[in-house]
Amino acid sequence: MRLAEALLALFRVLVYIFLLAPIAVVVLASFNAGNFLTFPPQGLSLRWFVTFLQNDVFIDAIVYSAVLAALATAVSLVIGTMAALYYVRHAGKEAETVRVLLLLPLILPEILTAIALLFFFYQIGVGLEHRIALFTGHVLMTLPFVFLNVTTSLQGRDEACELAARSLGASRMTAFRRVTLPLIAPGLATGGVFAFIISFDTFGISFILKGTGSAPLPIQLYDYLRFNFTPEAAAVSTVSIIFTLAAVVVADRLFGRKG
């Protein structure tokens, strides 16, 4: 019995290593001093970070992805929160239908949704102009995450506080802004962080709908990796991972404890 338990513990440790390995390897590779991606690194250096910072293509891509993610998250937060309010307080019998509809973008294969959007935007004559299709796709991908998180934080509260504020003379808007909004802030923060990360990292939607001109970071990285194998890509990836972790940590520090 002892042996079986030890084996099981070993197995678990191996699975945890399996989960972390590909990420750890990328981060380690980015500090490689050599010209090629070798492992273990041939000495430590920050040279590939310097190369990356001097490369306008990647800097542009990171800025482009960050702006796109911020805009998509903002729109998703408004639409998703409204939908969550409806789902928790007013949906009644249609609640299950509302939930499935809002989660559709998550359930359907992303690449197929992207292609369906591509056809659709061409058939209504818009095509990939002005990045409307790309933006719509990113809002769709992020919406379920806002909806899920806000729904969870709304379900913990009843409407009584807001009704009390209303009965004391607050307008509907004031009651929402001063009472409901602070209560669901943790859900909004988590949903927002998730939405931002999803938009920042999503590949299928951006790959199909990017159009011409500058592209989001994952696409730029993918294009680069098809022809190059230098640690510069690892440096870009490490920065991107730090970006994501920072977003999670900030949100957790701001709202995690209260939620």
């Binding site: 019995m1 197995f11 678990r12 699975v15 945890y16 399996f18 989960l19 972390l20 390995a21 590909p22 990420i23 390897v25 990328v26 590779a29 492992f39 639409i79 409204m82 939908a83 409806y86 789902y87 007013h90 949906a91 509809l101 809002l102 559709l104 973008p105 359930i107 359907l108 294969p109 992303e110 690449i111 197929l112 949704t113 292609i115 369906a116 959007l117 056809f119 659709f120 058939q123 719509t136 809002v139 769709l140 919406l143 909806f147 990292d201 590949f203 299928g204 790959f207 199909i208 970071l217 994952p218 990285l221 993918y222 990796l225 890509a233 690892a234 990836s237 991107s240 991972i241 999670v248």
Partner: protein, 280 residues
């Protein structure tokens, strides 16, 4: 309070989903029933089952379907095998450890798909970390084929979808009262018996939703098989994208996508019936 006002809350989301998810998907379904194009046009006028007939008569495309479904089943099995001990571990861990382990389990989701695949390339490539280590240790002479094949694809898919298995398992396991297990043990049941007769049956809803989620995600994933499989692993999803985007075979690609969705649906239903899933 007017009855119309709440509907305004759902209107933007409903409009978004209707116009940009449902209509485009209906459009793809209609596309699959159009006539395959000739002379470089994406499709010809008229409707029929021509595109479906093309799919079922071309072995190159047809043979990818069972292979795709098979990869999905294997990935699901691997996720269940790796995920169950983790879920059990996290469910019984102390509060402090739980946060850390939870973070590790979610970590694949926090890193973009391109970066993750890149990490696997560094690990699994012919001159990658694993092959190089084994060579230096004198265990192998020629590099093992770890990627650009089904093995690499299943490994990378299991890695990214493991969280989708562990989370439902965890939520069903956390509902179990530890007292039940203790009672069974005090009545003389072995640990294995407790697992077989108490823990596993109670976690069944988690097993079911985890398996269905992983299977559906695995067969419809595109980037991982494309990057790790290096175009040498042929899945229906890759063929769909190839037909629609590169070859302009719009009705054919759409038909292929719907055959895949339908077969996946049938497998999910069969699985649910086999495990006697209780629909909510």
């Amino acid at each position: 309070m007017s009855r119309r006002r709440p509907l305004l809350l759902i209107a933007p989301a409903a409009a978004l989903i209707f116009f940009f998810v449902m209509l485009p998907y209906i459009n793809v379904l209609v596309m699959s029933l159009r006539m395959p194009g000739s002379e470089g046009k994406p499709f010809d006028p008229g409707f029929g089952f021509e595109a479906y007939a093309q799919f079922f008569t071309q072995d190159y495309y047809l043979s990818a379907l069972p292979h795709t479904l098979w990869l999905g089943i294997i990935t699901t099995a691997v996720c269940l095998l790796l995920g169950y001990p983790l879920a059990l571990h996290i469910a019984t861990a102390s509060r402090r450890w739980r946060g850390i382990l939870y973070g590790i389990v979610l970590s694949p989701l926090l890193v973009g798909i391109v970066i993750r695949s890149y990490g696997w390339t560094i690990l699994l490539g012919n001159t990658g970390v694993i092959n190089k280590t084994l060579k230096d240790l004198g265990i192998i002479v020629r590099p093992l084929k770890l990627m650009y094949n089904d093995f690499g694809v299943v490994l990378a898919l299991a890695h990214v979808f493991l969280p989708f298995m562990v989370l439902p398992l965890l939520s069903s396991l956390q509902g179990i009262d530890p007292a039940i297990g203790q009672a069974a043990r005090s009545l003389g049941a072995s640990r294995l018996t407790v697992f077989r007769r108490v823990t596993f049956p109670v976690s069944m809803p988690g097993v079911q939703s985890g398996c269905i989620l992983v299977f559906v995600l695995a067969i419809s994933s595109y980037v991982t098989p494309a990057l790790i499989g290096g175009m040498r692993v042929k899945t229906t999803t890759i063929l769909v994208v190839d037909a629609l985007i590169d070859q302009f075979l719009w009705p054919f690609g759409s038909a292929m996508a719907f055959v895949l969705a339908l077969s996946a649906g049938l497998i999910v239903i069969a699985f649910a019936m086999l495990t006697r899933m209780k629909w909510k």
